[in-house]
């Protein structure tokens, strides 16, 4: 029964499912849960299903297997990268590393206005408004979303590789 509950939950859940959720729901230990997840994966391999459960440290998700990628090109949802320009990617990188960050600061780093890139990234769900800065005008602060972490296969922002020890925003001296 547990395997059925796990697979059904993973299929309809809104994103990866935290292990703690299953542990409480099924009243099992973490090790037992991981074993169950692995068993489900073995079962799926045996009956040649096209999915697998990606088991992370704290959460799991059900996904299609990599080797099917080319066969799914006609039916899979469009890539989140589709239509994303290089400026938008630059903006995404800046927000990822400097968040929470205002639009003005992004434009300052890029040297050009970044309004449209921010809107595009926001529409794709890769960034979101994460509060306001407590200064006159209360500019909006932008942060990356869980979708960004999922799409970049990162557990948390801490996993973003360091660009350089001395690399931080060069600020004009007061």
């Amino acid at each position: 029964m547990n395997k059925k509950i796990i697979t059904a939950t993973l299929l309809i859940s809104d994103g990866p499912v935290e292990h703690n959720y299953f542990i409480e729901l099924l009243d099992i230990s973490h090790n037992d849960l991981v074993e169950l997840l692995q068993e489900i994966n073995e079962d799926m391999i045996k009956i040649e299903l096209g999915f697998e459960i990606i088991i992370d440290k704290n959460k799991s998700d059900i996904r299609t297997i990599n080797e099917l990628s080319t066969y799914l090109s006609d039916v899979k949802p469009p890539s989140i990268l589709k239509g994303l320009s290089t400026p938008a990617l630059e903006t995404l990188a800046i927000i990822a590393y400097e968040q929470p960050i205002t639009k003005l600061k992004i434009s300052e780093i890029r040297g050009v206005e970044s309004e449209s890139s921010i809107k595009t990234l926001e529409a794709r769900g890769l960034i979101d408004k994460g509060g306001q800065l407590d200064v006159p005008g209360n500019p909006i602060l932008y942060i990356t979303t869980n979708l960004f972490l999922e799409k970049t296969d990162l557990e948390s922002l801490k996993e973003l590789p360091t660009i350089g020890e001395f690399f931080s925003s060069p600020n004009e001296e007061e």
Binding site: L10, S69, G125, E172
Partner: protein, 235 residues
């Protein structure tokens, strides 16, 4: 070995000029550059690079000496300039790094998209652009607003005021830039002297705002009663 000799000469020159010698830099430089004209540098890329560096340094010194020397250069200004250069360079490096990280992130996302998760609702709920301000109203407020709107609607005389043939902002921008190019210095009041309607004047004003935003021109108004002075931005 001729190249090595030339480079040694250049080094000597550099030492001589940085130690404030009064020799004629121009003559020495010409002499050296005449000698290297027929030399094939392809044989040694390292020497060639060193030559370029030394030559550039000498030219920089020469260029500085061409500047008026009477005024004393404030070393604090020089330091400030160096700070600005440093900041500009740091920003350039930072921007370059973020550009590359952006491409790396895209490649990571692309690889990760080879496996597709089961349909998740949150992937679609954000597809519509959210407004910057979310305004919540209850039924009572809605009634007040709608009453006000309908009341205003009754005062409308028709839609003629909307259906006017309004002037094109882009055309006004082009026109404005043309005038500024010719006159260099002018005022907004002077510019709108020739227009026939209020709408055209408004279009000119919007064009002015746009061109200031783009950095093509600069505008200044000391006081609300004074004219808006306009000049071409050479920065």
């Amino acid at each position: 070995m001729e190249v090595v000799k030339i480079i040694d000469n250049l080094k000597d020159l550099l030492i001589k000029y940085t130690s404030n010698s009064e020799s004629l830099l121009k003559e020495d430089l010409n002499l050296i550059f005449n000698r290297i004209e027929n030399i094939d540098f392809k044989e040694d890329i390292d020497n060639y690079a060193e030559f370029i560096l030394l030559g550039a340094s000498l030219f920089e010194i020469k260029a500085k000496r061409l500047l008026p020397q009477e005024e004393e250069i404030d070393w604090l200004d020089e330091v400030e300039l160096m700070k600005d250069k440093d900041l500009a360079f740091a920003r350039l490096l930072q921007f370059k790094a973020f550009s590359e990280v952006g491409i790396a992130l895209a490649s990571r996302i692309k690889n990760n998209e080879n496996s597709i998760p089961a349909f998740k609702y949150y992937q679609t709920k954000d597809l519509l652009i959210k407004p910057d301000i979310e305004y919540e109203i209850d039924l009572e407020q809605f009634e007040i607003i709608s009453n006000e709107v309908f009341l205003r609607y009754k005062t409308f005389k028709g839609f003629e005021h909307i259906d006017k043939d309004l002037p094109d902002i882009q055309e006004s921008i082009d026109e404005l830039l043309k005038v500024i190019d010719k006159r260099l210095n002018t005022s907004f009041e002077e510019l709108v002297l020739g227009v026939k309607t209020t709408e055209e004047a408004v279009a000119f004003f919007l064009a002015l705002l746009e061109t200031i935003k783009w950095g093509f021109i600069k505008a200044e108004q000391d006081n609300i009663d004074k004219e808006i002075n306009i000049e071409k931005n050479y920065e």
